[in-house]
């Protein structure tokens, strides 16, 4: 049924990261559904965004079913709560067998456990630390 990989993407959490990512992917001609439990959050989406929005709590199964999670190629969890992201990512991976699942985790200490469960995680704290280090150590012959 699926024509292309990574065609249908569900983004949970329409904060700065979620909204930005949704707009970028929408520009790359992907089908996007964004879920957030605060309707005002959708105002962050840029004019280029051409996907759908669902106002719901994504930790409730009904919301994920409404977003047709069983047909999703990618699920991205970017709410501001680590544990919510972890829970959504696991539901997507273990129950609905979504191919690619990425979760944002602010707290690096939990990262390892969830990577073992085949969930990709992105930790902004670590990414920033690495970027800072690279800038600071640049030109010192290390890096």
């Amino acid at each position: 049924m699926k024509k292309n990989k990574d065609e249908y993407i569900i983004i949970v959490g329409c904060g700065r990261l979620g909204a930005n990512l949704a707009s970028l992917l929408s520009k790359a001609r992907k089908s996007i559904v964004v879920i957030d439990n605060d309707r005002d959050a959708f105002n962050r989406l840029s004019d280029e965004f051409s996907g759908f929005t669902i106002e719901a709590d994504a930790t409730e199964e009904a919301a994920l079913l409404e977003a047709k999670i069983e047909r999703a190629d990618v699920v991205v969890a970017t709410t501001n709560d680590d544990n919510t992201n972890i829970m959504i990512a696991q539901i997507a991976k273990s129950i609905y067998n979504v191919d690619k699942v990425v979760a944002r985790l602010f707290e690096p200490s939990r990262q390892k456990v969830y990577e073992e469960l085949d969930i990709e995680t992105i930790c902004p704290t670590e990414l920033s630390a690495i970027a800072f280090r690279n800038i600071i150590l640049e030109g010192q012959g290390e890096g």
Binding site: T59, E60, E61, D82, N83, I86, M87, I91, S109, R110
Partner: protein
């Protein structure tokens, strides 16, 4: 036995009191400082850890490596899931309990490896669905996620079952009176045991016959 409880509501207070009276070692993790101080004052024998129980190093501080049971009682379902998973995966705690608010999460949590999942809203809504008047049941304990339940019913003088032998009562086949509390003593009933006023019946039954059990006891239908 070492037990870790994460959360801070009334349940935590009562659970801790009951566990300590049974001689278990209890550690409570709570993320509010004032609450921790209060818990520490109330439960001298319990250890209190101030921190976020969904972080591995906080669980470690609470002695998760030496604990047998973890009970996640926070108000947020995702937090309870993470507490149980970290306890199992990092600290190899085999018995994990989580409370969920959304009854649909029972199945989700089970599939994601949480040992026992309890949904209070599910228990209450199933009681209402079965039109059970809750005031006659003084205690109700669901077992195996509600597949079977123990209830405690106090007999009063209006009840139909009063003065009858158990063998002559109309209790359904899927229910059994396991014990009677009479004047503060436990009595194991036989078929010829007569039910007296103020008896507390401890009844083990399948959920589907709970309302039939009460009908048999009361002799009337609401």
């Amino acid at each position: 036995m070492n037990i870790i409880i994460v959360g801070g509501g009334k349940e935590v207070h009562f659970l801790t009191r009951s566990f300590i009276s049974k001689g278990y070692n209890v550690t409570i993790i709570n993320n509010k400082k004032e609450h921790c101080e209060k818990l520490a004052r109330m439960h001298e024998k319990a250890s209190i850890v101030y921190g976020d129980g969904t972080k591995p190093y906080v669980l470690e501080d609470a002695g998760a490596a030496y604990s047998n049971i973890v009970i996640a009682l926070t108000p947020k379902d995702p937090d309870n899931l993470v507490i149980c998973q970290l306890s199992e995966k990092i600290f190899k705690i085999r018995k994990t309990f989580a409370v969920v608010n959304d009854p649909k999460n029972i199945d989700v949590f089970n599939r994601l490896g949480v040992g026992t999942v309890i949904s209070t809203s599910d228990i209450i809504s199933s009681l209402i669905e079965q039109k059970i008047s809750v005031d006659e049941i003084t205690n109700l304990i669901p077992i195996e996620e509600g597949k079977v339940a123990i209830m405690e019913v106090e007999i009063n003088k209006d009840h139909d079952i009063l003065g009858k032998q158990l063998v002559n009562s109309n209790l359904p086949k899927e229910a059994i009176v396991g014990c009677i509390i009479r004047n503060g003593n436990a009595v194991i009933p036989r078929g010829d045991t007569v039910i007296l006023n103020k008896d507390k019946l401890i009844i083990l039954s399948l959920p589907k016959v709970q309302s039939d059990v009460l009908t048999a006891i009361r002799g009337r239908i609401d």
